[in-house]
């Protein structure tokens, strides 16, 4: 089981801030493919991966990151702090 969290417009498009998934995806990219196949709202959120960033267990990483042993994956747009 893995926690998947969403922020900003990713959260709004998917319509929830967090969900718990049972997945066999080996990488973040496979997880994205799995989510896009589920419903239109995921397809809308993940249509353009270049507009998204990902963190695995609260560390920024890329879409090729492996999911073995991971507890939390977060998807969000580029950050706008400061």
């Amino acid at each position: 089981m893995i926690d998947v969290v969403y922020f900003a417009w990713v959260r709004e498009r998917i319509g929830l801030p967090k969900e718990r998934l049972d997945t066999t995806s080996a990488t973040v990219r496979e997880l994205v493919t799995e989510l896009r196949a589920r419903e239109d709202r995921y397809e809308a959120a993940f249509a353009d991966l270049s507009a998204l960033r990902v963190a695995v267990d609260q560390e920024l990483t890329d879409f090729d990151a492996p999911l073995a042993g991971v507890r939390e994956v977060a998807f969000f747009p580029p950050m706008t702090g400061g």
Partner: protein, 146 residues
Amino acid sequence: MAVRVQDKDFDLGAEVAAFCRGRADMGAIVTFTGVVRDVGGGLKHMLIEHYPAMTQAAIEKIEAEAVQRWSLGDSLIIHRFGALEPGDRIMMVATAAPHRADAFQAAEFLMDYLKSRAPFWKKEVTDTGESWVSAKDEDEDALNRW
């Protein structure tokens, strides 16, 4: 060295005074304060969302990098979240160093990284609707100078 992520406001003068009290080895203190701008004139408020499980650690990592690169005696980063109005303070950075070049450069470095690597997202709510603030290419490019 301190990082605070909070919804409440902060007092720049009090923070800087507390920060360097009783130290006579730091000749230079630089601060940056970010303020909510109302560019178009119709901004009602700015909503700042963040990733609570990640924010503190992500900022501490940026701060640790600055401490490693420059000769800093102390540093402080405060970033707010929640609903802010035009003119409200969003965040501040303070750096203290023996000499001004280190204090300035470390503050600019911290700001460049906070802009693009700290997990905050801003949404502007105006009279006519709401929209997420887009990251700027120039903010991403700014990281290349370090």
